[in-house]
């Protein structure tokens, strides 16, 4: 994933700015949850907001879609964040026609979601039509995984089965990722889809939603995403 990113950056000749959770931890700005197997997902918000402020970004584009998740379903295309990066879903600006209100106050910034009205299938059909290159993690590959709460999580430096837990033995499975995120809370799905066409066919008939199949972070409560977004999560 990171190698793919760096290759694209070199191809395009653009400047890459990285907000690193690890750096924020190393600098003592945030502390990791000491619980074994705890996710760093929530810690991303701090690093993100710090980087937005340091670079004085007016707007930050994201790939969030309304069909992904309940709180995202209420998100605007041009979504205002206050000085503290907070989202206030009840004070959102109505969006009419394609006339987006781009006015903001000093300190505020926009999160812009151009793909708001796309579905997972739309994205894959677009990838196919435009012959876009993607990181291999989105296609079927063999990976050492373990099962937790019905999800397949990868074994890696930050995650692994809790010790002595029964039935948590890692095993090798053919999987792909429908969404890529923090490995401590983003699961793979069992899949043999190795090409864009096969992924499109699989996506068209899947009976489990993208985040439902793959995101442990949404399972804390029905409003887990809303709570994180209110704090400034992407």
């Amino acid at each position: 994933m990171l190698a793919f990113r760096d290759r694209r950056v070199a191809q395009l000749g653009v400047r890459l700015i990285v907000a690193s959770v690890q750096e924020s931890i190393d600098h003592g700005e945030i502390a990791e949850d000491p619980t074994p197997g705890a996710s760093r997902n929530r810690l991303q918000t701090h690093s993100l907001l710090r980087t937005i402020a340091a670079n004085r970004f007016d707007a930050v584009l994201g790939g969030g879609r309304r069909d992904e998740e309940k709180a995202r379903a209420k998100e605007r295309v041009f979504s205002v964040r206050d000085e503290f990066g907070q989202w206030d879903p009840r004070a959102q600006r109505p969006e009419l026609w394609n006339l987006y209100n781009t006015r903001r106050h000093p300190g505020e910034h926009f999160r812009v979601f151009p793909l708001s009205n796309w579905t997972e299938l739309d994205v894959w059909q677009y990838v196919g039509r435009e012959h876009l290159e993607l990181p291999s993690i989105y296609f079927a590959h063999e990976r050492e995984v373990f099962r937790r709460d019905g999800m397949l999580l990868a074994v890696g430096p930050y995650s692994g089965p809790r010790e002595n837990a029964s039935g948590k033995r890692p095993f090798v499975a053919t999987v792909r990722y429908r969404t890529v995120g923090d490995m401590t809370c983003t699961a793979a799905v069992e899949s043999g889809a190795a090409t864009v066409e096969e992924v499109i066919a699989e996506t068209a008939v899947t009976r489990i939603s993208e985040r439902g199949a793959t995101r442990a972070d949404d399972r804390f409560s029905v409003a887990a995403m809303e709570d994180r977004k209110r704090e400034g999560y992407f």
């Binding site: 998740e69 009419l96 026609w97």
Partner: protein, 417 residues
């Protein structure tokens, strides 16, 4: 694949959730885990039915209070078309949400309970859809099972609505008798109503012809961005990027650029896939012109001889969306196509009673959710078309100078008298 954008309005009592739920189920657009989650949430709340509104009412406050606060978007597709449904809450009687949902819709779906017939809410929703210039309306006469699938009842409701619809400006009104609960005429034609000879709802949504709704006569290209790469490879390149809002554009066409008024010719049309021979709405293109003109963001490329109205005093039907009321003398920011300017409210001519379409004159202003005709004076001339003719060049939003909130939606009716 062609996309159809639908606005729906109504309350849970009309069976709207059931109807949308059925469309989603039958096109297999509800995931098993989402369904399981809302079944759990419904039973926790003690409901004796699965509340499909929970599929999109994701905010904590919405779930706790059992209300939809905001426009909810749902997505589904059939092999023929993709659909985006903007579903607006009905029990909170807020035109604000309905106006927002209708602003991007090709078609509006209104539910009528066969037992109760046309209500004030039906008339209000139909009026708003008409004001927003939606070309297609479907009146689903629902709960036909509760009136014994009687043709006579359906005919009564249809006749009553047609009387009201003659006051509206909606070209295509289609009536469909349905039972959302039993699925009659939703996806499949009903066997209970052999007297109904029309299409099922889904079939109608798949087939309704909307491509002709855009104005293909008068060329309108609001300039969004001037493309000048200034690189060695593209040294002389100068193009104007934007989304076509009207007309058909081809190389060789004579065009006029506003506000300057100079006339020139289209040399080439560039797209993401290279030069193209023809462009039409809503394509996004880059246009290259024969002459080096002073063209900036917010300017307009128009077909020569089809110029829009240019004026600084305009009259617009405004839906007010803010808690603090609109009063004469208010100063606002105004966004029209790709251009921002400032405006002053000269006067509020009348408020519209959306139930009867009557005009209430002598009002002090517009309150939250009021709709009325407003005269605006703007700092720089606007180039506009009547909203009825072109939704893209006839619409504007009003933004509060102090709070930067979007406070109003305007549909331009013409120059102020």
């Amino acid at each position: 694949m062609e996309l159809l954008r639908i606005a729906t309005a109504g309350s849970v009592d009309d069976g709207k959730s059931t109807l949308i739920g059925r469309l989603l189920y039958d096109s297999q657009s509800v995931y098993d885990d989402d369904l399981a989650a809302i079944e759990r949430a419904s039973s926790l709340r003690g409901d004796d039915y699965v509340d499909l509104a929970l599929l999109s009412d994701g905010l904590r406050a919405e779930r706790e209070q059992g209300i939809t606060i905001d426009v909810a978007h749902r997505y589904f597709a059939t092999p023929r078309r993709k659909f985006i449904v903007a579903d607006t809450p009905g029990h909170v009687q807020h035109p604000r949400n309905m106006v927002t949902g209708c602003s991007t819709a090709d078609l509006v779906l209104i539910l009528v309970d066969a037992r109760h017939g046309i209500t004030e809410q039906t008339r209000r929703h139909a009026s708003i859809a008409s004001l927003l210039g939606i070309g297609h309306m479907v009146i689903c006469v629902n709960k036909m099972d509760l009136v014994d699938y009687e043709e006579r009842r359906y005919d009564e409701i249809r006749a009553e609505f047609e009387g009201f619809a003659s006051l509206l400006e909606i070209a295509d009104v289609t009536f469909i008798p349905v039972s959302a609960l039993h699925g009659d005429n939703v996806v499949e034609r009903s066997v209970e109503m052999p007297w109904y000879e029309g299409a099922s709802l889904l079939h109608h949504l798949e087939e309704v012809h909307v491509a002709g709704d855009r104005d293909l006569e008068d060329l309108r290209l609001p300039v969004q961005w001037v493309v000048r790469p200034r690189s060695a490879e593209w040294n002389d390149f100068r193009g104007y990027a934007g989304t076509l809002a009207g007309g058909i554009l081809a190389p060789g066409d004579e065009v006029t650029v506003l506000p300057g008024g100079e006339t020139t010719r289209v040399v080439a049309i560039e797209s993401a896939d290279g030069p193209i021979k023809e462009a039409f709405p809503p394509m996004s293109v880059i246009v290259r012109l024969a002459d080096d003109l002073d063209v900036a963001r917010g300017d307009r490329i128009c077909g020569s001889g089809t110029n829009p109205t240019v004026a600084q005093e305009i009259s617009a039907m405004v839906c007010w969306m803010d808690q603090s009321p609109l009063r004469a003398g208010a100063r606002l920011y105004l966004k029209h196509t790709s251009r921002w300017t400032r405006g002053i409210v000269d006067r509020v001519e009348y408020r519209l009673d959306v139930n009867s379409l009557g005009r209430v004159r002598g009002v002090a202003g517009l309150d939250l959710n009021d709709i009325g005709l407003v005269d605006l004076r703007v700092a720089a001339p606007l180039f506009f078309d009547d909203y009825r003719r072109n939704r893209a060049t006839g619409s504007l939003i009003l933004v509060d100078e102090a709070t930067s909130r979007t406070v109003g939606a305007g549909m331009i009716a013409g120059t102020a008298a």
